[in-house]
């Protein structure tokens, strides 16, 4: 594993931490005061900072550090997480996310913004504190800054587990810190690692070595708790160290050494009152020469070996290595070497198992592997269908054991297919979380107060769908903020709360995912939309449109009602692009709007792009698949309900409404003349714009789940055809692109439609 891979993992983890951070902050924003939430937020920032430090991403570290400091004030209840505070923090989370992606992809970040936020965060950490004391880390705006002040004559405070404690110091010392620390002072550091420290792969010796770099150091090892070897738990931690350090550095620098271990050890750092030190020591001083790190001497061998056993076992490195090092130690210390080695090896195994369990219930898998599996399962489904078909053709009794076996096989394949699809299914949560940031930013830009409420964010859908959902959703959210919600003044005048609400929800409905975006704004101004459409030559001035049709005008290319073009929206590349991306996903979008009460966009998307429920039909001797979702109903036309309309058009009357009849075979050029409708079946389909069309096919073969195969891979896009699939007889069948066929029936030729689809 090279550095880049490790870095990639770090960035993946950053994504997760950022999501955690944001959801935590939003919870706090909603009034959650659970200390665990605060801790989770703090941990997220801390982990990012830690990882960034390891990769030398200085910008990220310095920002995370300031952020962390302020969060710590919240954690220690010194800063009340009010709405205003959280607003700054949410913005900081956004900047942190920007910094992470800038570190990953190159890019740059708006420095003035991050600098402004750093100031705001620092102000929160200092200024808003009820007492004039600041946090220990607060005066360190950036790692490169001047050494933080050392509290000169302050009484040391006891530390808690976290190692983070407010240390009172006077602000006077802030400016004068150079001379106070130049002389060098002696600190007493008591460092007692707990077993967790080793199990996380930290090593006490390395920490001590880092500490020794700060100045002259003498170390006493406290071995009181060390039991006899046969009673020893190889994973436990028995040693503590008392360190006397003469250094010019500040207490913060000393604490910084233990930064990543602070949760897993007892750490006390205080200025030594010279004389007191020796008597206070309840431990036997053991000379601890740091040279042993490189060249173990006989005297310290045992200690070192035991320690290394601790560490290697804990870190779950290779069990063999561990065993041998413990064996060496044991051989020198006592005769019970076998049992010790066995114990260590067993412990190593236990630990590996525990580590695996602790690592969580998920694994990271390369998406390609999952895709390969899905493809194979697709083949399996096709093969199984082919097998069934040939058995049915050759076996007329229908009761043989082959048939029963086949039925079981069919169920199994279906189950395998569902499970494999479930691997790709992901909750929509990450996309929804991104939206909350967009709402914040855009609302800030246009000076509106808007709250985003999300619902059903754990609804799962195929990863491809999720990936392609973000863009149209972003467009829509921007539109909702910019056009949907009114300004606070207007809202108040209309008797509404000044804060607008956008509700984003997801749910499963009949095998599809339905995503709803509702705002409580002013709704669509139909008069203006209509006027605008007339101005832009989208409709005739005297066109008679229903409310629904007017609402749908906003999906027309080149439509924008915004009076002035802003950064956010209004350039006329909005809803038509949204609509096209939703359609490209095999989905549909509709809008309902009530004047004064708001608008609701409803998107219905397939759960997966790999399989599709379709109706298998025959057209001019060819087998076609019509997506089931498009079909409203099927009917057998009677001669009396078919009405000629003009030279070539025909209408079919369905419950007294007339619907254009579209001959699929003619549109696709499978036959030269129109078929007789009475001999076929009509599929009533819902098309874009809300209109209905009756598609004429020759016969319906049945309903089937089909695996979608790309036509573009080896051929090109075919107008009127969405994709291909392979049927039970092993032949390729084409999947009809209902919207394109309907559009073609409106008089638009299929060819230009195709080039549009290709560019869009």
């Amino acid at each position: 594993m090279d550095m880049n891979e490790i870095k990639e993992i770090f960035f993946q983890e950053c994504e997760e931490q950022l999501a955690e951070l944001e959801s935590g902050l939003l919870k706090l924003n909603d009034g959650d005061r659970d200390p665990e939430t605060v801790n989770a937020v703090f941990r997220a920032v801390h982990s990012i900072k830690g990882g960034a430090g390891a990769f030398g991403l200085d910008d990220l570290v310095s920002f995370a550090h300031v952020f962390e400091t302020t969060l710590d004030c919240v954690r220690s209840n010194k800063l009340e997480p009010t709405q205003d505070v959280l607003k700054v923090m949410l913005k900081s989370a956004d900047v942190l996310a920007d910094l992470v992606s800038a570190s990953r992809d190159g890019g740059s970040v708006d420095e003035s913004r991050s600098r402004g936020l750093v100031k705001e965060l620092e102000a929160l950490a200092h200024g808003e504190l009820p007492t004039p004391s600041a946090h220990a880390e607060a005066p360190k705006p950036a790692p490169k800054a001047a050494p933080a002040p050392a509290p000169k004559a302050e009484a040391p405070k006891p530390t808690d587990d976290s190692g983070f404690q407010p240390i009172p110091f006077s602000f006077d010392g802030f400016d004068a810190d150079e001379e106070t620390t130049l002389e060098g002072s002696t600190y007493e550091v008591i460092f007692k690692p707990r077993r967790e420290l080793y199990s996380k792969g930290n090593e006490a010796a390395l920490l001590l070595r880092d500490l020794s770099r700060l100045g002259d150091m003498s170390i006493n090892c406290d071995m009181d708790q060390l039991p006899a070897l046969d009673k020893m738990d190889p994973e436990a931690s028995y040693f503590g160290w008392k360190i006397s350090l003469k250094t010019t550095k500040s207490e913060d620098d000393i604490r910084a050494v233990f930064e990543f271990a602070e949760w897993d050890c007892d750490l006390d750092v205080k200025l030594s009152e010279e004389a007191a030190s020796e008597e206070e020591l309840p431990m036997i001083p053991v000379p601890f020469d740091l040279a042993i790190l490189d060249e173990p001497s006989a005297a310290e061998e045992e200690e070192k070996s035991v320690q290394s056993a601790d560490e290697t076992v804990a870190a779950a490195v290779s069990a063999a290595e561990t065993a041998s090092s413990v064996t060496k130690a044991a051989a020198r210390a006592s005769e019970k070497k076998e049992s010790a080695a066995a114990a260590a090896a067993a412990a190593a195994q236990n630990n590996a198992a525990a580590a695996a369990a602790a690592a969580g219930q998920t694994i990271r898998v390369d998406l390609d592997r999952v895709d390969r599996l899905i493809n194979l399962v697709g083949e399996l489904v096709i093969n199984q269908a082919m097998l069934s078909q040939s058995v049915i053709e050759n076996d007329t009794t229908g009761t043989s054991s082959i048939n029963m076996g086949l039925e079981e096989l069919q169920q199994l394949t279906r189950e395998i297919q569902d499970s494999v699809m479930a691997i790709r299914a992901q909750p929509v949560k990450p996309v929804f979380q991104r939206m909350s940031r967009i709402v914040r930013e855009v609302a800030d830009m246009v000076g509106k107060q808007i709250r985003l409420v999300t619902e059903g964010e754990n609804t799962e859908v195929d990863k491809t769908v999720i990936d392609k959902l973000a863009e149209p959703l972003t467009h829509m959210i921007r539109n909702a903020v910019d056009h949907g919600i009114e300004t606070p003044e207007k809202r108040e005048a209309a008797g509404k709360e000044s804060e607008g609400t956008i509700k984003l929800s997801a749910k499963h409905r009949s095998g599809r995912i339905v995503i709803e975006l509702a705002d409580d704004g002013g709704g669509i101004n139909r008069e203006r939309v209509r006027q605008k459409a007339i101005d832009n030559d989208l409709i005739a001035a005297d066109a008679n449109l229903s409310d629904e049709e007017i609402d749908n005008l906003i999906f027309m290319p080149g439509f924008s009602t915004a009076d002035k073009i802003s950064d956010i929206s209004g350039r006329g590349v909005g809803m038509d692009v949204v609509k096209r991306s939703i359609q490209a996903l095999g989905g549909r979008i509709s809008i309902s709007s009530r004047p004064g009460l708001g608008s609701t966009f409803t998107m219905s998307l397939p759960l997966t792009l790999a399989v599709l429920d379709g109706m298998v039909v025959t057209v001019a001797g060819q087998t076609l698949v019509v997506p089931l979702t498009a079909i409203v109903e099927t009917l057998q036309p009677e001669a009396s309900s078919i009405h000629s309309f003009g030279a070539t058009q025909r209408l079919i009357s369905i419950r007294n409404s007339f619907c254009p009849l579209v001959d699929v075979g003619r549109i696709l050029n499978f036959r030269a003349t129109q078929a007789n409708p009475v001999e076929g079946v009509a599929l009533l389909v819902e098309s874009e714009g809300g209109g209905q069309r009756a598609l004429m096919v020759d016969a319906i073969q049945g309903q089937r789940q089909v695996v979608i195969k790309s036509l573009e891979a080896n051929y090109t896009h075919v107008p009127g055809i969405a994709a291909a699939t392979i049927l039970g007889d092993g032949r390729v069948a084409l999947i009809l692109d209902v919207d394109a066929v309907v559009a073609a029936s409106r008089g638009q030729s299929l060819k230009p439609e195709m080039s549009l689809a290709a560019t869009g």
Binding site: I382, F670, K709, N714, Y715, T716, V718, G720, R731
Partner: protein, 155 residues
């Protein structure tokens, strides 16, 4: 069959020869993925005349081109004896319908004669040379020239 299997030396190459009607053609063997029997293809709407349709090649959708029609000769009437040469053309895989595969040739550049001046544009576009082997004339064709990247525009 006259197999001229030699060790491939510098400048020599292997070609696969096939028959369409009474003419013989050959293509570079490196672009051929496999050869398989004819199976009925699903016709595509709005496709050019030489496009026979698509077949299922172990799960992938493979377009089948009637090479006879593509080369400007009469349309093929596929039978069970026809074969499909599955070939890689640029990034795509296509199936070429031919009457039969006749030979695998190992030739050097000296064996290739230039294409004589003929009036037909189509021949000039795809023919890259002519081989004289055992008194037969085999026309070497360039698949990339037959299937330009933007096929939809050419159609």
């Amino acid at each position: 069959m006259s197999y001229a299997v030699k060790n491939l030396t510098q400048g020599s190459r292997e070609l696969i020869a096939f028959r369409i009607g009474d003419q013989e053609f050959c293509v570079n063997i490196m672009s051929v993925r496999e050869i398989r029997g004819w199976t009925p293809a699903t016709p595509m709407p709005h496709a050019p005349g030489y496009m026979m349709g698509v077949i299922n090649l172990r799960g992938a959708v493979l377009p089948i081109v009637d090479l006879s029609a593509r080369l400007g000769m009469k349309d093929a009437e596929p039978t069970a004896r026809h074969v499909i040469i599955v070939a890689q053309v640029k990034s795509k895989v296509v199936g070429l319908l031919v009457e039969a595969v006749s030979d695998i040739l190992t030739i050097t550049d000296e064996n290739i004669q230039p294409v004589p001046e003929v009036s037909s544009d189509l021949e000039k576009q795809y023919a890259r040379g002519i081989l004289a082997i055992d008194k037969r004339m085999i026309c070497m064709i360039e698949l990339d020239a037959l299937f330009p990247e933007k096929e939809s525009e050419a159609a």
